[in-house]
Symmetry: C2
Subunit: 374 residues, 2 copies
């Protein structure tokens, strides 16, 4: 392994969800789930459009009942990205979702007790080339059984046993599908507990060839949930595990997509738009760096070019410390320097610095004159 690299990615069996490939060395896919009532087609389609704008590549919708299933044909037709139906227990909903043209199912076959019903769903999925994601959450496992006569397990014992129990549950579902000759499988193992999630995914990765959908469940409101997800998903991706990610936040799913891309960017796995480097201010800073950085961030919004832009607080170390940046500015007292690939391009009064930066970026990137001047 080369020093300074993410570990080589585990190469999984590729699975197609509509026109998107998960696994097999494909870029890590960013997905999310609608928080709308699936029966409300208009709200769901609008949310999907907002998710697509943010870069979402696969979207999941809950299908808790018949009415939700009936909304699927129109949702699928109006979605720009593949739609996955999330189904629990009721095989008729799965069949209806498949008939509606969904591109994936999230369904644990072991929860549909009747083998004949499972066979029916799997046959229908296979006919349509629709994959099935098996999703095991730590919280949904059946209670752990104590040995007869033994004291009930302690919290620490329960926790230590959890990864293996999650894997076992997932393998149970996997075997049902494999026995039916069905291999278009994606598996997810999620917990709120980051070390448990990591351990479970490591174990599973050794035992099946299928792509892994990774995430941290019930991670919380956006602020804490973002941090917990970044830590957990980041660790797994750094270990080379994870073919598709979903950040779970209690809030707008568009934020899940934004956070997902930012995690991937932090590990250089995917880039979407500019990367902003900015130093924390300190007692040496003689410029309003926060304002400057926020202004640059604002001006770069909506730009898709994967450029790196640095906003540094001091002229002395700025260009040097931001050598890896494509473009940058370093503020001084009333004046600042503009640099490109570590070389100083010029010195400007502070109030012209951002304009000069944007003009320089536009020049090098060949943007039409004036497009980014405001």
């Amino acid at each position: 392994m080369e020093a300074g690299s993410v570990r080589p990615r585990r190469i999984s069996r590729p699975v197609r969800v509509g026109d998107v490939t998960i696994g097999g060395g494909a870029p890590v896919v960013v997905q999310s789930m609608c928080s709308t009532d699936t029966r409300d087609v208009r709200a769901t389609v609008e949310q999907i459009a907002a998710l697509v704008d943010a870069g979402c590549e696969i979207v999941r919708v809950a299908v808790p009942d018949r009415a939700a299933a009936e909304a699927l044909p129109e949702i699928v037709r109006r979605s720009a990205i593949p739609v996955v139906a999330d189904i629990h227990f009721d095989h008729r909903l799965a069949l209806a979702a498949l008939a509606a043209g969904v591109h994936g199912l999230r369904l644990n076959p072991g929860n549909i007790r009747d083998p004949e019903k499972v066979r029916e769903v799997v046959r229908a999925a296979a006919e349509r080339g629709v994959p099935i994601r098996i999703g095991v959450n730590a919280g949904s496992l059946p209670p752990m059984e104590a040995s007869p006569g033994a004291p009930p397990p302690t919290v620490a014992e329960l926790r230590a046993a959890l990864p293996a129990r999650m894997v076992e549950a997932a393998l149970g579902h996997v075997r049902i599908l494999e026995a039916l000759g069905f291999f278009d499988i994606v598996v997810s193992l999620k917990a709120f507990d980051v070390p448990v999630t990591v351990a479970a995914n490591r174990l599973l990765a050794q035992q099946v060839p299928y792509p892994l959908h990774i995430g941290i469940t019930e991670a919380g409101l956006p602020w804490a949930g973002t941090i917990r997800s970044a830590v957990g998903i980041g660790i797994l991706l750094f270990e080379g595990l994870g073919d598709t990610i979903r950040v779970s936040l209690t809030g707008d799913p568009v934020e899940e997509v934004r956070v997902g891309y930012e995690i991937l960017r932090a590990l250089d796995l995917r880039r979407r738009g500019p990367t902003l480097i900015s130093c924390p201010t300190c007692g040496r800073t003689e410029v309003d760096l926060v304002r400057l950085a926020m202004e640059v961030e604002r001006r770069l919004q909506g730009i898709r070019d994967p450029i790196t832009v640095a906003v540094m607080g001091c002229v002395v170390n700025g260009p040097g410390e931001a050598r890896e940046a494509d473009f940058g500015i370093a503020g001084g007292k009333g004046r600042g320097v503009l640099f490109r690939h570590g070389q100083i391009v010029g010195t400007y009064p502070e109030e012209q610095l951002v304009d000069a930066l944007m003009a320089e970026i536009a020049r090098e990137r060949g943007w039409p004159v004036g497009t980014r001047s405001a």
Copy 2:
């Protein structure tokens, strides 16, 4: 290694910064740096007080000049936590900071060229029992030299060589201190690039016994910087590396401390206050979960008890999925259940649910009646 655990922590040589121990198996210390002008004593002292409120355990201030050094005695006197002086090049500033009573220095001895001046600083630090942090940032390394006649290194070659070059630079500074019989050393290796930062720290950890101060430099504005820091610091901590952390954000340093604790909480390394578990809403949710979770978060603000509280969107899976929570509520249609340690305590109308939750927490935690009812 037990499945589901963070890897055993590397046990480093403990170093005392004032009354705080870094390394040697001590809890990971959360630190930050003032963004105020150090010469402005009032602003700096106020910022330190806000940092302390957020849980900051060590604070660093920049000492770029004589005037900043002159402000140190009063800052140190009025700070509730140990103060570290950040000094570059000028050994007289280091001597002045030590005389002012600072509890730590951040200083790279190799940057003070004259060996006699280095000796003077190190002697003064040793006399006062003040440790020195050596801090190497990827961006501040001298340019990489190409072999004579060879083409200049490519970007990929530069990046691949970076971790070893950072370690080499740090070891150069370490050896200067060791040669003077000084071993109260903390080392940091930081880059904006997460994989480079991880690789550098892994390498260094094998070569010195000193505690590691970890962080990601110039991580950016709070949103992106938080995600990048959570990924980078999270990976290192999960590997058992890191004795103290600093999250670097372009913004209010109080946010650095909050994010720091949240990263530690995500890995179960430290807990400060309640942990909120909340599910992402989905098409099955029949309650305004975001509002409910935000309300619970608000009511829990300022509470130091390390309890876990779950806010779940559906009554069917809620209590089960949040078994690990000490307390929780699961919303239904107009009504919801309150549970404690996975057992249902009662059912309440939606508008009374949060009150019932807070009352239950207060009862079990033995809080005085009425203290948390509003």
